[in-house]
């Protein structure tokens, strides 16, 4: 059965790299210096991009587009996607998005997706700055699409839909889903293919209009000659969103308090490695019924 080309949107987010908060990223008081953290392509969104590219590999003529919401610098996520094989990308950016929680974010993304149109949405399971795993399912709900979360592999694609293996807490499940559908991809799925040299050459100067305006050199002519270099920007007006449903006013959750996790040193008892000291420790633990 022949599958018609699919329009695939990858949801990707630029995040601070919270995985390796090393000594240099810690302030003297033991709290995190966020400015010292590198902005990266959210790791599970790279797993998502790989799944999207695999769909494109098996269904010729399909199109993979990245959609990212964030400030101007998040255009970097779109460029990275283009280097790895995506066909295009959109930066959803507007000051009115600031302060959006997952509900407001998914509203904005769903409005943008409605404008762009698609058969399959692929997102990472969760972003490492919030770890909520909420935006994917909430986008699906707003669009009325079914969702398949914790995806590890797309095993078959036919005209009716896709057969997908998803991870469960203690095993896995295989499901058959029709189109359109939203998938969220787990980190145990294959990693993303590397950048393709040809694409890096081709898209190295890909810019949003805003980036162009502040660029030191005038790229206008190059952009007229090579329209594929233009990264589309969309704002509130472009997606026809209700501003009340965005930003702080559209976000039911509020942060009441943030506490930095500071580990206060306890009075640890230092034990030597001599046999005698270890024996004394063991005897102490037996006597106070911690062990034995």
């Amino acid at each position: 059965m022949l599958v018609k080309p699919l329009k695939i949107i990858v949801l990707a987010k630029q995040v601070p790299d919270t995985r390796n908060v090393g000594k240099d990223a810690m302030k003297a008081d033991g709290t995190v210096n966020r400015a010292a953290l590198e902005a990266i392509f959210n790791p599970e969104d790279l797993n998502a991009l790989e799944q999207a590219l695999r769909i494109k590999d098996s269904v010729p003529g399909s199109n993979v587009m990245l959609l990212t919401m964030g400030p101007g610098r998040a255009a970097e996520v779109v460029r990275e996607g283009l280097y790895r094989g995506a066909d295009g990308g959109v930066l959803l950016t507007d000051r009115k998005f600031a302060g959006s929680d997952t509900l407001a974010t998914s509203y904005a993304l769903s409005k943008a997706i409605s404008k762009l149109g698609c058969d399959v949405i692929v997102a990472g399971r969760q972003a490492i700055d919030g770890d909520t795993a909420q935006v994917g399912p909430q986008v699906a709900e707003k669009l009325g699409y079914p969702q398949v979360t914790y995806v590890e592999e797309i095993e078959k694609i036919n005209a009716d839909g896709m057969e997908i293996r998803r991870r469960l807490d203690n095993g896995f499940e295989r499901v058959m889903t029709p189109f359109p559908v939203l998938l969220t991809v787990h980190s145990s799925a294959p990693g993303c293919r590397p950048r393709i040299a040809k694409n890096v050459m081709k898209y190295k100067y890909a810019r949003t209009l805003t980036e162009l305006q502040v660029a030191a050199e005038d790229y206008t002519r190059m952009f007229n000659d090579r329209p594929y270099l233009k990264i589309q920007e969309m704002g509130v007006d472009d997606i026809g969103a209700d501003t009340e449903a965005l930003g702080l006013s559209g976000s039911p959750t509020k942060v009441k308090k943030i506490e930095n996790v500071v580990f206060k040193a306890k009075e640890a008892k230092v034990i030597g490695v001599e046999d005698k000291e270890i024996e004394e420790l063991i005897v102490e633990l037996i006597e106070n019924h911690t062990i034995g």
Binding site: P16, T18, R19, V21, V32, T102, L103, G130, D131, A133, Q134, P137, Q138, A140, E141, P146, Q147, V148, T149, Y150, E163, R167, L168, D169, N170, G171, E173, R174, V175, M176, T177, P178, P252, T253, K254, V255, K256, K257, I258, N260, V261, F263, K264, A265, K266, A268, K269, V270, G272, V273, D275, I278, E279, L281, I282, V283, I286, T290, I291, G292
Partner: protein, 339 residues
């Protein structure tokens, strides 16, 4: 009215631990709020399961039973939970932060346009004053969770939308049966009236689930190792110590990723949260993500060649040395001194 509703996961013919942990917690929150706890049970055979919920503090159990609901599926469960919540108007709705709860709760929150906080590690009741609009909110649910890779702890509130929804991590709250079970009521819902035909558009074609072989959460003694253990063979040494002490072996994410130890034994933010009587950390530097999963252990012994390993700051005993020498000595002296 305006009770606390807990979505309960079933596990074969029993209720999942995380759901009983939530019912237990909900019961204490409900006492503070002077309301009741309601449970939702969805499945193909839920006969008798309500008794377990009554025993842990639920006084109403909503049941939706249908042969098509043998296994969890996003769309029918969303339709059923939304219908029950719209009708019952709970002030708080709780889900386990499992692959089921984290799939379902966001979808429900989106449909109800309610705020949802993921992966809470603590829930409290408290007030809030909003300066901008000079409004005092009483008895809100404080949803407390680690964020930013575990480097901060955030308290989230939903002042204006109801229900206040949260998913809660497995194992962080205690599960406790009441002295006398509540004399509860079952409310039966007709599934056909709540689900649409399209809700079964995604079809489960195969499902392989293994019973959990190890019970890290219940272990009183845990001997854990990090990447520094160096090999699967070296982990055998930790296993020997765990065996003689009657405990379990655990590992950090790095040790799991390196293949030294099984995924189900991973301790930390992306693994299980444990709170044993004794935690022996071998060659573990103590990344914040790992500490988040074990810092509530009653006693921590750190064995590390690095005297400045971050884990030492939360340890009760620090042994600066090589686990390859220290662990065999511990085994030897335990055998010698135990009766």
């Amino acid at each position: 009215m305006n009770n606390i509703i807990v979505y309960c996961e079933t596990n074969g013919n029993t209720v999942a631990d995380v759901s009983l942990e939530l019912i237990t917690k909900a019961h204490s929150l409900a006492n503070q709020l002077k309301v009741d706890v309601e449970g939702i049970l969805i499945g193909s055979e839920t006969e008798g399961l309500e008794k377990i919920l009554f025993a842990h503090g639920a006084s109403i159990v909503h049941k939706a039973e249908d042969s098509r609901l043998a296994f969890y599926q996003t769309l029918p469960h969303t339709s059923i939970v939304c219908a029950i919540m719209k009708k019952e108007k709970p002030q708080i709705g709780l889900f386990g932060a499992t692959t089921v709860g984290r799939d379902l709760a966001p979808r429900v929150a989106s449909a109800l346009k309610s705020g949802l906080t993921a992966d809470c590690t603590s829930l409290e009741i408290g007030d809030h004053y909003e300066k901008k609009i000079d409004t005092r909110y009483e008895n809100l649910l404080y949803q407390i969770r680690p964020a930013f890779g575990g480097n901060i702890v955030a308290t989230i509130i939903n002042p204006d939308t109801r229900p206040q929804l949260a998913t809660v991590r497995e194992g962080v709250m205690k599960q406790e049966a009441l002295q006398t079970p509540l004399k509860g009521k079952v409310k039966t819902w007709k599934v056909d009236e709540l689900v649409e035909k399209d809700d079964f558009a995604v079809e489960i074609i195969d499902r392989q689930v293994e019973e959990k072989k190890v019970n890290m959460k219940g272990a009183q003694i845990i001997v854990a190792g990090g990447y520094g253990i160096g090999s699967k063979e070296n982990f055998e040494l930790l296993r020997q110590l765990a065996d003689v002490l009657g405990g379990e072996v655990g590992g950090t994410r790095a040790a799991v990723d390196a293949g030294y130890i099984d995924h189900e034994r991973q301790i930390g933010q992306t693994g299980v949260t444990v709170r044993p009587k004794l935690y022996i950390a071998c060659g573990i530097s103590g990344q914040i993500q790992h500490r988040a999963g074990m810092m509530e252990s009653s006693m921590i012994i750190s064995i590390n060649t690095d005297p400045n390993a971050p884990i030492n700051s939360i340890a009760d005993y620090v042994i600066t040395g090589d686990f390859m020498e220290v662990v065999p000595a511990m085994i030897k002296y335990y055998k010698k001194n135990s009766k």
